[in-house]
């Protein structure tokens, strides 16, 4: 495939059991696609987890990944949400070196970014920020000169906007729901 690589976001509903993450990740590994971020958490339905995977791949490859994810038994549904309107957020803790001089400025920066200072020590403070990847990146950029001591980022969680149910959301009866819609895509 010669088309350009770009970041694709996949939302998966999977059974919450051992080995599922390995199966899913293995499809990316096999094709040497780098996973930029991956989040997993519970859903409103017991026993079912939701994964958000962001990976840099080409358009053609994204179709293939999606179709292959579909073939995994514990995967209930897959949606490539790259081209649909979504809300995307990630969370980060950033521990920055702070002294009496810089502390006030750091708190001011946090305020401008609508971030929060969640820990304060003699020589450092921890800022918590929730936002798009871009916004987190921007904050990191501003904080870097102060000396970032540690950082933890969650990776993205995404959800499509509006009231439309997630296209592949519910395992039961979903094939009827999908028939027309999926077939009309050029798969």
């Amino acid at each position: 495939m010669s088309d350009q690589q770009k970041l694709h976001s996949f939302v998966l509903y999977v059974e919450n059991q051992p080995g599922v993450l390995n199966r899913v990740a293995s499809l990316f590994r096999r094709r040497a696609y780098n996973i930029e971020s991956l989040t997993v958490g519970h859903t409103e339905r017991p026993g079912i987890s939701r994964m958000t995977i962001v990976a840099g791949i080409s358009e053609g490859a994204a179709h293939r990944v999606e179709a292959n994810l579909y073939k995994l038994a514990p995967v209930l549904s897959v949606e490539d949400v790259t081209h649909v309107p979504i809300i995307a957020r990630s969370l980060a803790f950033i521990k920055v070196a702070a002294n009496d001089e810089s502390r006030y400025r750091l708190m001011e920066i946090a305020r401008v970014f609508r971030a929060r200072v969640v820990d304060l020590a003699n020589e450092s403070l921890v800022i918590e920020i929730t936002g798009t990847e871009d916004k987190v990146d921007a904050l990191v950029g501003v904080l870097r000169p102060f000396g970032i001591q540690e950082m933890a980022r969650t990776g993205q969680v995404v959800m499509s906007r509006g009231t439309k149910p997630p296209a592949n959301g519910h395992p039961a009866g979903r094939s009827d729901l999908l028939l027309e819609e999926e077939a009309s895509q050029s798969v």
Partner: protein, 572 residues
Amino acid sequence: MPKTKKSGAEIIWECLERLGVEYVFGYPGGAILPAYDAMTRYGVHHVLVRHEQGATHMADGYARASGRVGVALATSGPGATNMVTGIATAMMDSSPIVCITGQVGSKLIGSDAFQETDITGITLPITKHNYLVTRAQDVAPSLREAFQIASSSRPGPVLVDITKDAQNGSCEFDWEAAAPQRQHFVRGPFYNKTQLAEALELINQAKRPVILAGHGIILSGSEQEVLAFAEAACTPVALTLLGIGAFPASHPLCLGMMGMHGEAWVNKAIQESDLLIALGMRFDDRVTGNLKTYAPTAKKIHIEIDRAEINKNVHVDVPLIGDLRELLPQLVPGVKRMDRSDWLSSIDKSKQDSAVRDIQSLPDDGHLYAAHVIHELWRETNGDAIIVTDVGQHQMWEAQYYRHEKPRTLITSGGLGTMGFALPAAIGAKFANPKAEVWVVAGDGGFQMTMAELATIVQEKIEIKIAIVNNGYLGMVRQWQEFFYDGRYSSTPLWSPNFQKLAEAFGIPGFTVNTRPDVIPTLRAARRQRGPALIDFQVEQEDSVFPMVPAGADLHAMIRRPNPLVERATDV
């Protein structure tokens, strides 16, 4: 204690019996001992193999010959890892097999215990699905679902790894409650009326259509539907290697095999066509050649059950994702009767001198060619035998010269190209089809990879005939060295034992043939044997498979048979 309380080991056999399993191909060991002990109380026939790879190929051969799920059994560690090649073979060719392996006790998992191997980890990318079962009560649900996954939609291998404590432990056995719960993995169909109409429009407008018939036709049992469709659309049919048998070789619309070793006119027809109708095939690189120049003027309709195959290698205009058997009958009524005799006769004309170039037309000059052997085998068996091939030149010659009329009569490792496949797979095919005449066609190289299974044939007292196409080389590799490496035969000349004597050491009648007049009488003598027989055909050593599209070259850029042979042929 309620009557229905059973050990995990008993539940394995209880389930296999209820799933209709007649044969299990396996090899015992420590971690699977409880299952082997319980086996004696059940009616499933266990075939003791000589290597666990053999067990997987036997299960595979059984599945391919019958369409039913084949079952292989092995112990943990080396028993399980020996299965890997067979599992990958089944995966690539969509063959429904279930492999059951013993595993160390669940408390020992992860401790590098004796004969512990992470076989579910190892086989993750080469199975449709796999299970690690650590409790007796999970045995039945896992096995039932394994069978369903293996055989549904696009079939494939499933592995069930059962710890020793799960086999020894016991629980209430409830068959009904163990019914498969997951339904979602049978995805699709995905197509709509608009797409059916689009497909019909393309079919009815096409002037030069070609059907590409693949393994999916055989897997879905839609040969009749394909026949009806091809006849209605008056469209010639080219076959993939695994599609051989999906359409009768003697049918006037049958072109034969396409791809790397397909006949020149078949590939030419594909290159010139204006519509390709791909049925249950996956545009493998061995059939497309260079993708950039593949069928440049053709629109493409792809009818396939596995959505992941759509637009994988070749961009298609109309994808119809579903079971051929349900889909094709929806198309047939809309197909307009068209006169395509111009197209058919132009394909016919492009055969030109290929009949003369065919090695069959060579006079007997004292040389024995593999093509002669295969041709006579076809004639002597009336084209009715199940032929199980190994991998290499002989495999391609079989595909070219044995004319298969019926599905499931050619069993061969296509996707993985696994040498050593033929002999064990033939054993499985024979168990699936005890009345059929089963022939192994193997090279001298591949036969030596799994020939220990001769002992299995003898121990099981089954009748399998074996033709070794012995050219003294790893022939297919030698051919590539001749064509692409200036004839430097690096590690391809191959010493072999005296195969006739080898067979005799197993108590199997052996024959050796090295002249053309001996071919037919020896085939007859071997066929007359009530049990197994082996013939060592010592053929021309440096013959090559023609025509050939070099890997990655344009499909129409074929290497033809060299002139000296052709000249001799036209001398007649």
